[in-house]
Amino acid sequence: MELQLQNITKRYSKGAALAVDGISYTFTPGVYGLLGPNGAGKSTLMNIMTDNLPPTSGKITLDGVEIGKMGPKYRSALGYMPQQQGLYDEFTGEQFLWYMAALKGLPRAAAKKVIEDTLQTVNLDKDRHKKLKGYSGGMKQRILIAQALLNDPGILIMDEPTAGLDPKERIRIRSFISEISKDKIVLIATHVVSDVEFISKEILVMNGGKIIRDGTPQALIQDMEGKVFETVVTEEEHQALVASGIKIAGIALAGDKLCVRVVTDTPPTLGEVSQVRPNLEDVYLWLVE
């Protein structure tokens, strides 16, 4: 299976800036992490990939066939999990899944089995008869994941799938996505870098409507070697660091001083400086800030 984006652009109105600016990319089975700040164009790109928004130019093909021409056939292969949003308050979790199964065109018998399995997977079996308005944020997130999986999609597009989940659920969902990704294209848009750091085949970093960097997490991290430092500074030195415009990745208390993690080409000159191993958050910070 190959999902190909060919020079996709999107301009919402004449004269407006490009929301998506000439993106070309080929997805093959595996997990892809899509990172980028708010307004980077992630949601626009996902709407185009789910065939909810026509691109201004360019095309998307699935195994060589344009998705617009495939219509329902493309959507049969698609699982989409939107960002957390209003749901049908009057539906119970189980009713919502049956409704989504109807929308996905599943036969009744198949729907019954897959709904049972999916409710177990997302750990909502006991809460299936509760109304959605009584669900917590995490439960709503899980029911949204469940609906995306109902049709056993070949392409799974997920927007912030672990937002609102507690650490245990976050790990559980992450592991599940990793498990099912062997024969699926999974695209996860997120702000939580750790969600995609360990399960992604490739990471795509978007900003200003473009993919500004892509590659395996290891490759991206390797590129950052020698650019991440920790320095133990006083409060005054910290203020001086901030004033210098250096990219600060984190601050922790170190006795009566502060341990500041910075991302920079050249080591900082203030405090007790040591080079540290970079992570994906450093990469993200380096690329988009």
Partner: protein, 694 residues
């Protein structure tokens, strides 16, 4: 005060609340209208003139006479009886006091007698003036307004108390400095002021309706001039009585609002709150009708919102309540108990809001609902999109209430024309009488019976002639000529219409053979009743717009469209199902809105003469050779098409605006505009079709 202001702003932004409020006021007016049968209304408008009408009793027309002279005589009798009632009060009290039952001076019965005498003493010599009473009577008789007020209150309670909690906003608010007492007071204030405003508007509209439809006459005459105020012990004019009634209704509504506020803060589930409040109010209603006025428990009847809502209950009827052996006037008791109830309900409600009303937690009712959902889950094990779309609309958006209202409206429309038939003119009544006998195929038997009737009329004329020539006394002459003359007046013109109809049919090709006698008057009256047709279309169309406006917009509001559209059936097929649902609902509305018309056609005997040609109508007023059946079918189809247009128009609006309120406002506006145009040109679909065939 600022918190209260923000509560009002929040309510103002709830478009569903105020749109529903407007619809409720309109619904109340419609109920006012349909609970007043047309013939009665027409009669009442002629109150200052002589009038009479005819009712069909066991298939025979019966004259019902009521003329202004009769009314004046009745009123004069009332005035005399009122004078006697007041002037002899002291004597009656003296006599009753001498009996053992009332004689004990430390007892309630004795004190009640003395108080009654005292209360009425100042009414000796009260000047009573004659004037029309029908408006006041109709306003007094119409007590359906309390149901609309309760419906508004339930919605207001939901928006003031439950909506924010459902959105988990209440914890945020209650975490602030003024989030307990001040917020509770602000919410109570919003409920009370919202209620007062709604009742004021509703009652102003209702009074306006009765003023236009019946008139109240001179508002400066004493209230006791109207016989329903005979027992009133307030020195007020009729105008003041109407104002006091509106104020009393606002007071009753405030008590109910405070009660619902308490229920809403104590009961955790909104559904349970509605059931709980509904149960208590149903009990109150039962007490208001079931308890006898003379019972020791009569205070449960009188100190009751349903009793106090009625004008006569609040102002006109005289009653003292036994309070530890002392009589207390019903009005005073109502005021004290009402005020105390508001204070108590509000106090406990505010305390409950502060202490326990914050997050929605599992309740027993919630557990019961969960159990029900568990055991009915199988109903949803379906992949029918139509089923889910119906559920989303009717249950999710609670539009099932609109369907219930639709059925109630259909029932009331149908029942309004299912009772005794009434006619303004004797000829119409007699014609109906003959048509009940003759409508259908022309047969030898029916013609023979018609001949007999003609013979009977001739005999009556001959009797009248012979009477004039006989030597009968003047009294006999008067009596017999009155009796015979009435009989002739009643039947002759109607009979002549039938005879004329038969004569016309004889001139048609084939003579009477294979022809039908049709109730032409009933059918033409029905066909040219543009006001009724337009009104039914207006109400039906507004209901259809209201129902259909939620079909697509609900998903837009919840931002579900992207998710739905990314599924295999989430576009064309989903749209097709929604369209199918819209058609089914429109069809249901159309059928209900046509119920009254169908009953009227049935009553006119139209279904027995469907094969009758339109050109066979007397005088050949219609040129077309089509049958009545075809005509009715065409009219029915065209009306159906007009509803289909409403359906498609509303669907287009929902797609274009993606907003239910905007759809409702635009769609409702267009429907009302069409209604006004129809009335202005006095041509609805039926009239337009007939004009083409004329």
């Amino acid at each position: 005060m600022r918190i209260y202001g923000y509560e009002l702003i929040k309510l103002r932004k709830r478009s569903t609340l105020w749109v529903t409020a407007v619809l409720l006021v309109l619904g109340c007016l419609v109920l006012c209208f349909i609970t007043q049968p047309g013939e009665r209304l027409a009669s009442l408008q002629q109150e200052e003139e002589d009038f009479f009408h005819y009712e069909m009793v066991d298939g025979v027309p019966v004259l019902v006479i009521q003329d202004s002279e009769q009314q004046i005589q009745d009123w004069e009798a009332y005035r005399e009886s009122y004078g006697v009632f007041i002037n002899e009060m002291a004597d009656r009290v003296d006599k009753m006091s001498s009996t053992s039952l009332f004689g004990k001076q430390s007892g309630f019965a004795y004190r009640n007698l003395q108080k009654t005498q005292l209360d009425y003493a100042s009414f000796a010599g009260t000047e009573l003036r004659y004037g029309p009473e029908s408006g006041v009577r109709a306003y007094n008789d119409f007590s359906g307004g309390i149901l609309f007020t309760l419906a508004f209150l339930a919605l207001l309670m939901y928006y003031v108390l439950y909506d924010e909690r459902g959105q988990n906003l209440l914890l945020l608010l209650k975490g602030t400095r003024n989030g307990h007492g001040a917020l509770a007071a602000a919410k109570l204030g919003a409920m009370l002021s919202g209620t007062a405003l709604y009742v004021l508007v509703q009652e102003a509209a209702t009074l306006g309706y009765f003023a236009v439809a019946h008139g109240f006459g001179d508002l400066t005459r004493t209230a006791q001039s109207v016989s329903i105020f005979r027992n009133c012990v307030l020195h007020i004019t009729l105008g003041q009585a109407l104002i006091l009634t509106v104020l009393a209704r606002i007071g009753v509504a405030l008590v109910l609002a405070a009660f619902l506020y308490l229920v809403g803060t104590v009961v955790r589930s909104e559904a349970a709150a509605v059931v709980c409040a509904g149960g208590i109010l149903a009990g109150e209603f039962f007490l208001s009708v079931a308890i006898n006025a003379g019972s020791t428990l009569c205070f449960l009847k009188f100190l009751n919102p349903f009793y106090s809502w009625k004008m006569s209950g609040a102002l006109a009827e005289y009653q003292n309540i036994n309070v530890f052996g002392f009589p207390v006037g019903k009005g005073i008791a109502m005021l004290i108990v009402g005020a105390a109830a508001v204070v108590l309900f509000a106090g406990f409600g505010m305390a409950s809001f502060s202490v326990r009303y914050q997050v929605k937690t599992a309740s027993r009712f919630g557990g019961l609902m969960l159990w029900i959902r568990q055991h009915t889950a199988g109903l949803f094990h379906t992949v029918s999109l139509l089923w889910f779309e119906t559920y989303k609309l009717l249950i999710g958006q609670k539009k099932i209430l609109v369907l219930v209202l639709l059925l109630a409206w259909g029932y009331s429309e149908a029942s309004a024309v299912s009772g005794v038939q009434s006619f303004a003119r004797p000829a119409d009544a007699a014609y109906q009488y003959y048509m009940n006998r003759l409508s259908g195929p022309v047969t030898e038997e029916s013609m023979a019976w018609l001949d007999q009737e003609q013979q009977r009329m001739e005999d009556l004329h001959r009797q009248l002639q012979e009477l004039a020539e006989s030597g009968a006394t003047e009294t006999e002459m008067m009596y017999l000529s009155y009796t015979i003359g009435n009989e002739i007046n009643l039947y002759e013109e109607g009979l002549q219409r039938v005879v004329h109809q038969v004569e016309w049919m004889k001139t048609l090709p084939g003579g009477l053979s294979g022809k039908y006698l049709v109730n032409e008057t009933a059918l033409t009256n029905r066909w040219y009743d543009t006001e009724t047709d337009a009104r039914l279309w207006l109400i039906g169309s507004l209901i259809a717009v209201f129902l259909l406006s939620g079909i697509r917009t609900g998903d837009e509001k919840r931002r579900m469209t992207t998710l739905l559209a990314s599924t295999r059936n989430g576009r064309e097929r989903l749209d097709k199902m929604r369209h199918r649902l819209a058609l089914v609902l429109t069809l249901a509305v159309f059928i209900v809105s046509e119920l009254r018309i169908l009953i009227l056609y049935s009553r006119a005997g139209a279904f027995r003469v469907l094969g009758q040609k339109l050109c066979w109508f007397s005088g050949g007023i219609y040129g077309a050779g089509i049958s009545i059946g075809v005509l009715l079918l065409v009219i029915f189809l065209l009306k159906g098409l007009s509803f289909l247009a409403v359906c498609l128009g509303t669907e287009t609006l929902t797609k274009a605006t993606k907003n239910a309120t905007v759809t409702l406002l635009i769609g409702g506006g267009i429907v009302i505009a069409v209604y006004i145009v129809v009335l202005a040109f006095h041509t609805d679909i039926t009239a337009a079709v007939l004009n083409l065939l004329y």
